[in-house]
């Protein structure tokens, strides 16, 4: 209760405060402090849920169960580390003359606002509010993506705005249809949009309406997840915004969008018997994995490369959630966690590498290992981790997903095999020369923030070798909830 308010209140307060002071010298510290407070609050909330079980609060408007609370913790954590990272990163950007004071203020304020919307989307029990928060998240990040005001960043932001706006409008239609179906059972009041209420009556909901609603919801939130062929905004937005934004987009926003899809899937599964949502999600997931893998081969821009990799991984998660069952859901949740951590770590290193080289073009970034071993090792280890090399955690989830697929959906495995192979070939072919070889980089005016990178990678490494029992229990409960 109080924890929920704290989790939501700190970022909101931070946003407000930074809207006025965001250009000051101490703004990054405020940003970090707000994120830290959020993190602490979310940990308290997590502990509470862990001890007391699922929590309904504030007139049933907020609902916390193992599924979303772990995402809350993850969001707060990555939000915090990204804030830590963005301190030196944005200072270097400022020194390089890419942002001015006003934009820094915008950046800091919107960063906190974005945090707020993410957390709101996760915590709310109301599917309408979920939609509102998702839309608000889009709005907040649009401004972040276009922060540099370069033609490319404007173009990216415009596409991001229009595509996600239209996409999310479809999600609203889906939500209306859900409401429409539930209204008869739950009455026209506020109850018909509450997920817990819907979950209670999901067996009686009208299958036809729900399947149509799910199509709209999937297309809507799927746009934000970055499912092919709805993904086109994603690489542009990731590549052209400031790196901390790329990191949170990949690490958090996509997760939250997928969370929304999965919440809806649970309802649809209750109503529509014959694996309708399962097939759709598996199909979209597989298509995303395959197409993204082949697109990876064509990238020339480092951040764009990893944006496509995000599409690939969201595809894997969607596929796994679609497949369902305790193991696949477990694996998908684990994958969400490790992907967030790894991908944001990669973006941190790529961001610094790009600052060092003065460009994001892969061909002009060379020999990181020689001149800046920390960045080089961070990048190569992160890349190997994201490509599914053990002992990193991404491998653990891919292991579970692939082996489960071999039993539950063997037809999909050749595609996965090809896609993972092509993805590995493409990404590693690009990263290896960036890291190895003769250096081309210069010195940075400020010490790069490598601590978040290695903290993330360390956690991912740990998750590959040992998942703490409480975390495992959490995943298991969440996997059961998802069904």
């Amino acid at each position: 209760m109080i924890e929920i308010l704290a989790v939501l209140g700190f970022p909101l307060a931070g946003a407000a405060a930074l809207a006025f002071t965001g250009a000051r010298r101490e703004a990054p510290a405020v940003n970090i402090a707000a994120s830290l407070a959020t993190l602490v609050a979310s940990l308290a909330l997590t502990a509470r849920v862990f001890v007391d079980g699922p929590l309904l609060a504030l007139d049933r408007q907020f609902f916390v169960d193992p599924f979303n609370v772990f995402l809350v913790a993850l969001t707060a954590f990555v939000g915090f580390t990204t804030a830590v990272f963005s301190r030196p990163y944005m200072r270097i950007e400022e020194r390089h003359g890419r942002v001015n004071a006003a934009r820094l203020r915008l950046y800091h304020s919107m960063y906190q606002l974005f945090q707020f919307t993410m957390l709101l989307a996760l915590l709310t029990n109301n599917l309408g509010i979920l939609w509102v928060a998702m839309e608000a998240a889009t709005l907040a990040t649009v401004l972040l993506v276009s922060l540099y005001r370069t033609p490319a960043s404007l173009e990216a932001a415009w596409k991001y705005f229009i595509l996600c706006g239209v996409g999310i409008a479809q999600a609203l239609f889906g939500t209306i249809l859900l409401f429409f179906a539930a209204e008869k059972l739950l009455g026209g009041g506020g109850g018909a949009l509450l997920w817990t209420a819907l979950d209670g009556v999901k067996g009686q909901l009208e299958p036809t309406v729900l399947s149509i609603a799910f199509v709209f919801l999937l297309v809507g939130y799927g746009t934000k997840v970055g499912l092919v062929p709805l993904h086109n905004w994603l690489p542009d937005a990731h590549a052209e915004g400031p790196t901390p934004v790329s990191a949170v987009l990949s690490g958090l926003l996509l997760n939250v969008a997928l969370y929304a899809v999965v919440r809806c899937k649970v309802l649809v599964d209750g109503a529509v018997a014959h694996g309708f949502a399962r097939d759709l999600m598996m199909g979209f997931g597989l298509l995303s994995v395959v197409v993204a893998a082949f697109l990876l081969a064509r990238q020339k821009d480092a951040k764009r490369l990893f944006a496509y990799s995000s599409i690939e991984h969201m595809g894997i998660m969607t596929f796994a959630f679609g497949m369902g069952g305790p193991v696949a859901n477990f694996a998908a949740l684990l994958h969400m966690t490790v992907h967030s951590l790894t991908k944001s770590a990669i973006f941190y290193t790529v961001g610094h590498a790009a600052q060092k080289a003065g460009t994001q073009v892969i061909e002009d970034i060379r020999g990181l290992l020689t001149l800046s071993p920390a960045i080089g090792w961070g990048l190569v280890l992160g890349t190997l981790a994201i490509l599914g090399m053990p002992p990193f955690g991404v491998f653990a989830s891919e292991f579970l997903i692939l082996t489960t697929a071999m039993n539950d959906a063997p037809w999909a495995t050749p595609f996965l095999l090809v896609a993972l192979g092509v993805a590995f070939a493409s990404v590693f072919a690009k990263v290896q020369p960036m890291v190895f070889g003769e250096p081309t980089t210069k010195r940075l005016p400020e010490r790069p923030a490598m601590v978040p990178v290695f903290v993330h990678l360390g956690l991912v490494l740990m998750l590959g070798l040992w998942i703490p029992p409480f975390l495992a229990e959490w995943y298991r409960q969440a996997a059961r909830l998802i069904g």
Binding site: N126, G128, I129, W131, V132, E135, A136, L139, V142, L143, S146, R149, T150, P151, A152, L154, E155, A156, A157, W158, K159, F161, I162, G165, V166, A169, L172, F173, I176, L177, F179, F180, A181, E183, K184, G188, G189, G190, L193, E206, T208, V209, I212, P235, D236, A239, E240, L295, R298
Partner: protein, 222 residues
Amino acid sequence: MSALPLHAQVINLLAAILLLLAFAMLTQRRVLSLIDLFAAQGLALAVSTGIVAAYTGQAHLWWSAGITLALKVVALPWILHRLIRRLDVKWDVERLVNVPTTMLIGIVLVVFSFNLAVPISQLSGTITRATLGIAMASVMLSFLMMITRRKAIPQVIGFLSMENGLFFAATSATYGMPMVVELGIALDVLVGVLILGVFFFQIREQFDSLDLQHLEKLQEGE
């Protein structure tokens, strides 16, 4: 169907008008007229919401109607007008697909939406259930409009008109979403338009035009 009460008949009429306006927007060439059509759509929406509110006696629907009126009939058209004046663009709208083809596709879409809505409408408890098909059709038409326009402002208007369709679905087919949600949606739309306004200036500053073909650089070409 002949025994429909009056208010239902009015709502159906308004729905038809909404659809007609959507078609008109689809084919409209001038940007200022487009804004006027959008305002008219908003008006129809507000009126229909008001009628539903009067009939069902749900207080929050009055609020909805009010917000719609304020936002979509007054505020947004005003903002857009101002923008156009400030940006000094009054050109004709260029399009990617010619008008007859667009119309043809639009009609197909309407048929498709009606078909899709029929089984859903059967289940509805509301008397104005048939409007769901119209709402869906107008959403689709707005979508089509966004696809066929190559300037930024008409695209945004398409986006807003899609929001209208959705809103219509929410009010007429279900007697309105919960208040918080509607407020949230309205806020999002407003903020969105404001941000877009800022965007227009930035885009024009960078490209000297609001033509979307300048925004085609980020791609996976050779």
